[in-house]
Symmetry: C2
Subunit: 193 residues, 2 copies
Amino acid sequence: MAVRTRRGEPLSLDEIHATALRLIDAGGAEALSMRKLAAELDVNPMSLYHHVENKTALLAGVCGLAISQLRLPPDDGRPWQEQLRALAHAYRSLAQAHPRLWAYVHEHPEVVDRKEGMGAVLRRILHAAGVPERDVEATSEILYAFVTGFVYAETRDHLGEHPGAEDVDRSYEIAIRLILAGLASGEAFDTQP
Amino acid sequence: MAVRTRRGEPLSLDEIHATALRLIDAGGAEALSMRKLAAELDVNPMSLYHHVENKTALLAGVCGLAISQLRLPPDDGRPWQEQLRALAHAYRSLAQAHPRLWAYVHEHPEVVDRKEGMGAVLRRILHAAGVPERDVEATSEILYAFVTGFVYAETRDHLGEHPGAEDVDRSYEIAIRLILAGLASGEAFDTQP
DNA sequence: ACCTGAACACCGTTCAAGT
DNA sequence: ACCTGAACACCGTTCAAGT
C-alpha cells in the first residue's frame, strides 16, 4: 500500500526479517513468498539471496528472532508449581504475540533447539517437583508436547475472531491444573519395567 | 517404477484416493502434487479435476477415509480410566499407520469434525470420570489437544528411524498416567470464577 | 460423459552479467 | 560488494476443444 522509500540504501538482514515477520503475521508463513517479500521491500527478488541462503533459512531466522524473545522464568525460590505456571505463561504469551509464526514453529520443530532454553528450565522444574531422575527427560518432552499442542489449537481457533478472553482463560487454567495435579500425584512414575 | 496398465479404463475416485494416500505415506502431503499424482496414475493432470474439485478437496477426502477407520471404543461397563486408555490407543494406532497423513490432519484441523466421533466419546468418558458438567466440553478439547500434540511430536520424531519401541512406549504410558491422575484428583475443576 | 493440450499466473532458485 | 534480468523447473487451475 504505502510506497516505501527504499531503492539505493543497502537492504539489511534486520530489515528483511522484520518485513518477513510482518507478512507472516498478516497471512501466515505459507502465504510468504520470496517474490512478495522482495516486492514489499521494493527490491529485486534475487537480491534477497545475497543476505539469506534460501527461504527455509529465512524462516528459521525469523523464528529464531521470536524464540529469543522468550523470557524464561528465573530459578528464584518459588514453589515448582508457580515456576511451571510462569514458564507455560511465558510460552503462551509469545505464541499469542505472533500466532501465525508460532504455527510455523510448531509445524517445523527442527528450528527450535529443545535441549536448551525451555527444555533446560522444564527439566529443572520437574526435578524440583520430585519427578524421578530417569523420567525427567521423557516428562519434559511430554509436557512440552502438551503445552505446545494446547497453544497451537488455541491460537488456531482464535485467529479470526477476537480472543473471547473469559472462556479461553478458564480452559487454559484447567489445562494447567490438570498437569500440576497429575505431576503432584506421583502416580505417573511408579512403573517398574 | 512399475509401469501401470491404466489408460483406457475409467479412473475412479477410490483409485485416486488410494494412490494419493500411497504418495503421502511415502513423501508427506507437501510432496504430493496434482501433476505427480496424475503421472503415477498414468493420466493427464487435468483428468483429476473431473473427479475432485481441487487439491484441498482431494486431501480432505483422503483424510476422511483414514479418519473413518478409527474404531471408537464402545460404551461397555469398563471403568472410565480403561475407556480413556482405549480411546487414546485407538487414536495413536491410526496415526502410526499413516504418520505423514496424520501430520497433515493435525495441521489442518478443519478436515475433522471435532463435534462427532472422538469428541462425543471423549465427553461421555469425562462425564463418567466425574468432571463437572460445565467443564466437560473444555476438558474434552484440552485432552484432544494434549493427545494430538503428543502423537504429532512422537510420530514426527520417529519418521526416519525405527520405532525404538521400549522408550517410546514408556513415554506414552507416563503421558497417559499424567492425564488420568490429573483427572482423578479433581483439583482442576474447583475454581469459582 | 470423460478426457486432454495449451495457456495463465504463480512459485524457488541458478547463473551470468551488470554497476 | 552488491544487485539484477533472463531462464529453468516446477506448481494449481481454467478453458476451449477433442472423442
